[in-house]
């Protein structure tokens, strides 16, 4: 197949002007070349969504792809994670996926990273133009959100510096439902702006598990949460170790038999302990396609992007709905921080006094505490004594420099307040 024939469908998007293209879209062959040679995309996760994403990215003309995943291939993955074969069981997902995509799609370079996302330094993530997420946990998503927000910088007026915006496209599926969303930190809501979107997990009261089990899930949770620690003390439970899961399954089955409860199965045990909802291959395919298209739009501007959250429900047809969620102006992760002028020589006590005396900020502050990153500079409550000595120190010594953002806490505030310290000469203020 010649090159033009191969990219015919992509060229429909990249070679022609249109009425709904994004700002600065410049149709032409350079778009395809740029996608192949310059754009660097990171795919986080090489599981159900990840396999689809990698295939879609490679076939959409992305030439440089990195993939990161900490998992190895399990036999139960093979029904939908189509890059893997029986002989790959036990091998790292990222490595096998990279190899398979390169073998099937000519001209694409896929670099695997077989490790935890937390193990990579911030510099690693900085090199990518777009980060695309195919994850299955809220925790991992929040970590990637933290990473993306760590690059974000604001100008003096509190507007996000576009060069510091690290675009993230997030996909997620659960059975027949899924979502795709575009996060431009500082521009569209980040994960923590809309954390309320995630429903809490159902948890059973411990006493019900212990005394009045009524369902197979109750028996499994009892074996998992209570019997394990009682009968195998000091041993950490690992849901990915088959022997551990087998143990929980057998104990749960015995308990269910004792209470005359039906339905404790090996599959349900895995489902309850690992909180698994059956994955549907077609849902992954639809969501991955939506995410890849958004990544393509972000880097080429061939169309204006998704604003900013698409939900998909496939239970009774192909239903999608798009909502523009709004940023939380006080989000602890992606908000600009209120600018506040201080002299580097001011003591922390003087800064606190000035905050309380400030016309705008002071209204909500009475007894503020201040932290800088993980470092608690001055804390009321039980850490007051341990942090008191900082009050006499100059703020210039306690933070990294002009523009440092500190978190201020106070009972009068509903959430931590980000304050950006602007250093001024000793003469002004």
């Amino acid at each position: 197949m010649d090159e033009d024939e191969r990219w015919r469908d992509l060229d429909m998007l990249l070679m022609r002007p249109g009425n709904i293209t994004g700002p600065g879209f410049d149709p032409g062959p350079e778009c395809r070349e740029c996608l192949r040679d310059q754009v660097h995309v990171l795919c986080v996760g090489a599981g159900g969504l990840g396999c689809e994403l990698l295939k879609d990215l490679a076939l959409s003309g992305f030439g440089q792809i990195d993939v990161i995943d900490m998992d190895t291939i399990d036999v139960s993955n093979l029904n939908r994670q189509f890059l893997f074969r029986m002989k790959d069981v036990g091998k790292p997902k990222a490595e096998v996926a990279a190899e398979r995509v390169m073998a099937r799609v000519a001209g694409v370079a896929v670099t695997p990273h077989f490790c935890r996302i937390e193990d990579k330094p911030l510099d690693f993530y900085e090199q990518f133009h777009v980060i695309i997420l195919g994850l299955d946990s809220l925790e991992a998503r929040r970590f990637m959100n933290q990473v993306a927000c760590s690059f974000l910088e604001f100008d003096a007026e509190g507007k996000p510096d576009l060069a510091s915006v690290k675009p993230v496209v997030d996909g997620g599926t659960e059975g027949f439902k899924g979502h795709a969303r575009v996060i431009l930190p500082g521009v569209t809501p980040c994960f923590d702006c809309t954390l309320w979107l995630f429903p809490p997990q159902t948890k059973f009261p411990l006493c019900t598990l212990a005394e009045t089990p009524r369902s197979p899930a109750h028996c499994i949770e009892y074996a998992h949460l209570i019997q394990w620690y009682a009968e195998r003390p000091g041993e950490a439970f690992d849901a990915d170790t088959e022997e551990h899961l087998r143990w929980v399954f057998e104990k749960a089955a015995a308990r269910a038999a004792h209470y005359g409860i039906q339905g404790v199965t090996w599959q349900l045990t895995g489902g309850v302990v690992k909180n698994i909802i059956p994955a549907i291959a077609s849902t992954n395919a639809i969501i991955a396609a939506a995410c890849t298209l958004e990544a393509l739009k972000l880097v080429t501007m061939c169309s204006s992007g998704l604003n900013n959250y698409l939900m998909y429900v496939g239970t009774e047809g192909v239903y999608t709905h798009t909502v523009a969620y709004e940023r939380d102006a006080a989000c602890p992760m992606c908000s600009a921080g209120v600018p506040f002028r201080v002299r580097p020589s001011d003591t922390l006590q003087q800064v606190l006094d000035a905050l309380v005396a400030d016309k705008a900020l002071g209204a909500k502050l009475s007894a503020p505490s201040v932290s800088y990153g993980a470092e608690n500079l001055y804390m009321r409550g039980p850490l007051e004594e341990a942090t008191r000595s900082n009050l006499a120190r100059a703020i210039g010594e306690l933070v990294d420099g002009d523009g440092s953002v500190v978190q201020v806490n106070d009972r009068g505030l509903a959430a931590p307040l980000r304050v950006k310290l602007c250093f001024v000469d000793s003469m002004e203020r």
Partner: protein
């Protein structure tokens, strides 16, 4: 758009290098929220808190409760708190490190407190959990037990229950099949 990104990025990097500021991954929202919780903590009489890993590592700590009235008077009960980075979406993980004869605390230290599991909400805080734990000592609940033996004794013979608990706190004693070391606070 990509062209715009790359040019500006380059300038940015040079500027950052000149500045000498190196970036680190931000703290998790869970840690940020915990800073707020801890700074607003109002430990009443009989409650103390320690951070074994220092004042800047807030995700693990221990709370000791010393009830000054009720069945558990004069005892000292230590709880370990483990907070995940997804706090406050997820509840703190709390275990009782002191072996105690209590209808709602089992011998492995599991605690049956509704707000730690089914009734946890992100608006609750470390303070709410401490109140909940204090309440467990003032008003042990035999209706939904985790330690069935203790619950049965509390219901059938409250005086014997109180006596056994006090004996265990003061001098250490065996109740039923288990030994409870002294935990006088």
């Amino acid at each position: 758009m990509i062209k715009l990104f790359s040019v500006k990025e380059k300038q940015k990097k040079e500027a950052a290098a000149a500045n000498g500021l190196s970036k680190a991954v931000k703290q998790s929202a869970g840690e940020l929220r915990l800073q707020k919780d801890i700074s607003e903590l109002n430990l009443g009489k009989g409650v103390s808190l320690t951070f074994p890993e220092g004042k800047d590592k807030l995700l693990t700590f221990e709370i000791t409760i010393r009830p000054d009235e009720g069945t558990y008077k004069s005892g000292a009960f230590t709880f370990s708190f483990n907070i995940s980075t997804s706090y406050p979406h997820d509840a703190p993980k709390v275990k009782c490190k002191t072996k105690v004869y209590h209808p709602n605390i089992d011998l492995e230290g599991n605690v049956c407190l509704n707000i730690l599991r089914e009734d946890w909400k992100p608006v609750l805080s470390i303070n709410s959990v401490i109140y909940g734990l204090q309440f467990l000592f003032l008003d042990p609940n035999p209706e939904d037990p985790l330690n069935k033996e203790a619950a049965e004794m509390l219901q059938s013979n409250p005086r014997q229950f109180e006596h056994s608990v006090q004996m265990a706190i003061m001098r250490g004693s065996s109740i039923g099949t288990s030994y409870f070391p002294p935990c006088r606070g």
